[in-house]
Subunit: 337 residues, 2 copies
DNA sequence: ATGAAAGCGCTAACAA
DNA sequence: TTGTTAGCGCTTTCAT
């Protein structure tokens, strides 16, 4: 465990000495206590300024038992949804004065989880936000101490914990119905790896198909990589029965369209494709992607808001929902012929 | 500054009591000291296990004066390059046992910088990595204490500090020469907002044009948003003289192509476009984007490696370079006619 | 190899 | 309003 010792920073004692007061007074000034004479306050502030004093937050947390650091626990931080959600959390946390550490889970195995969590828990957290976009998130959620304030983001329901989610099922239904309304007789679904439950998007797709009295075809399984749906596109190109595909996210939708194109099939003329997420690039894809917008940054802010309620003493688990919205652009149209 | 008090966690004292040893012995066991009898070690480990003891890293850092947390300082965390670089840093830091906090700069104004930095510096950092993809990074770099181990990533040269960079100029030159070799008589350049110095990509573009004895047209200024290059595309569509465009990143390239398409101009038939970064989607864009690959994750790992050298005692500032590589796909071809 | 004592920089409880 | 004293949970001497 490496580290280096650096030039000593000024302490409250140094400031106290220079200001001609005691350390607790310095402490009072910096913790915003009212009970300080204007004179003492002035002197302390001047001294602190001169020395470049900054309270040591470690010592502070240790002495007071109050800790403000929150952790964001996630398996992948680079994918669009994760990234944007984390940025939303960070923004809200920063505004509320909470430092944020990021803890990346190496995988869904119990050992990985335990190791990652041990590392972050030794840090004395005020609370944690767990991203359940991946499978590891679920496992982590269960391994976290009961009495630690925790909020889950997305994923399956977590009894007893606050949670911020999108109403994916509704959106999935809407997207599927939209495709149906265009005249398609069936809609295929391409899924990314399951998060350990029936995702809302799939559920919505199924239910829309069923309410329309249609058969529910088997889910087409992809990975998280656009390449996987590219390959799927190449084989789907040979299947004249498939006229509409609903993809679990934009990356898969774009990979699919690209694969389709490489096999000579055009979107939306030959086949319609809908994505999910509305990544910034979706609007500028060719064709512009019809997709479902989700405000990930707001989801992240929601999550922090929920955590904050617990930090402020609430013990009630709350569920906050956000509604994704269908964005109609150019990748879906009527079936050919 | 909110926070909550939770159930007391077991301390070294509790473990010591249960194990029938003193606290220092517990400390020795957990800090991997050799001078512990096998018997004591066993008892301590058993007791710790039973109590679920985890050393308090705050107290540890405070008592030892050794601190391991590193900070990543950046203005934007959501853009592709930033995200991926941060993931690379995180990966390397995690492997080396260093917790990582993320500190987002609100803007390039001195007050913003000071505020953000104060918050993160009060946390007793072992070191920091500053992302200079944005302007704020530069300012932050200068505001950081001299004696804090710091490494800069990308951006202009920083005397006295270690730095991990891409050889952008070389790559920019190569991309431009490639366009020229296709038969284009000139190449336009679309830039994102300047980071306060002449970016390597622009420099490379200029130098390639000059060596070919060509005029250097004015840089076309865009924002970070694809929409801005989309608009540029719409107006460029009316200009028959422009047959090749080099974009400072893939987002701008895709926005441009989309804008061009909306005005009826096709890529690469009517006009050639090259991007920079090779985002995962670039390969699946239509047309597949010819671009310059940069291994951001490796850049992040490089940066941490550099920081680690300083944490291990080195005071020598080192520069680590990585070579981007041209990836030829379908968005650039010979000029029309 | 181990324990007693001191101290990291701060805040809390109390007294004045 | 202010200072004194004690203590947060750990590590570090320094004895033994």
């Amino acid at each position: 465990m490496p580290s280096i010792a650096r030039e000593r920073q000024p302490s409250a004692k140094d400031v106290a000495l220079l200001a001609g007061v005691s350390t607790p007074t310095v402490s009072r000034v910096f913790s915003g206590s009212a009970n300080v004479s204007p004179r003492a306050r002035r002197q302390v502030e001047a001294a602190a300024q001169r020395l470049g004093y900054r309270p040591n937050s470690l010592a502070r947390a240790l002495a007071s038992g109050r800790v403000t650091t929150i952790a964001v626990i996630s398996q992948n931080t680079a994918r669009y949804g994760n990234t944007t959600t984390i940025a939303g959390i960070e923004e809200a946390a920063r505004a509320a004065g909470h430092p944020m550490v990021i803890s990346v889970l190496e995988g869904p195995d119990p050992q990985d989880i335990t190791r990652s969590l041990d590392a972050v828990l030794s840090q004395q957290l005020a609370g944690a936000i767990v991203l359940q976009f991946d499978r590891a998130g679920r496992a982590a959620l269960q391994a976290l101490p009961e009495d630690l304030p925790v909020v889950a983001v997305s994923g399956p329901n977590v009894p007893g914990r606050s949670q911020a989610v999108f109403e994916e099922a509704r959106a999935g239904e809407e997207a599927t119905r939209y495709l149906l309304s265009l005249g398609h007789r069936s809609v295929a679904f391409i899924a990314f790896p399951s998060v350990g439950h029936v995702g809302g998007r799939v559920a919505g797709w199924r239910s829309a198909l069923r309410s329309a009295g249609l058969n529910v075809p088997p889910v087409i399984q992809a990975t998280w990589e656009a390449r996987s749906s590219y390959e799927i596109g190449r084989s789907l190109a040979r299947d004249p029965n498939t006229t509409a595909v609903f993809c679990a996210n934009d990356m898969l939708a774009m990979g699919l369209i690209s694969g389709l194109a490489s096999a000579g099939r055009r979107v939306p003329d030959d086949i319609s494709v809908i994505g999910f997420d509305d990544e910034p690039i979706a609007e500028f894809y060719l064709p512009p992607l019809t997709t479902v917008y989700q405000d990930f940054a707001a989801l992240g802010r929601d999550a922090f808001g929920l955590l904050k309620e617990h930090l402020d003493g609430s013990t009630r688990a709350r569920l906050v929902r956000r509604t994704p919205t269908l964005v109609v652009r150019g990748s879906a149209g009527p079936p050919p012929g």
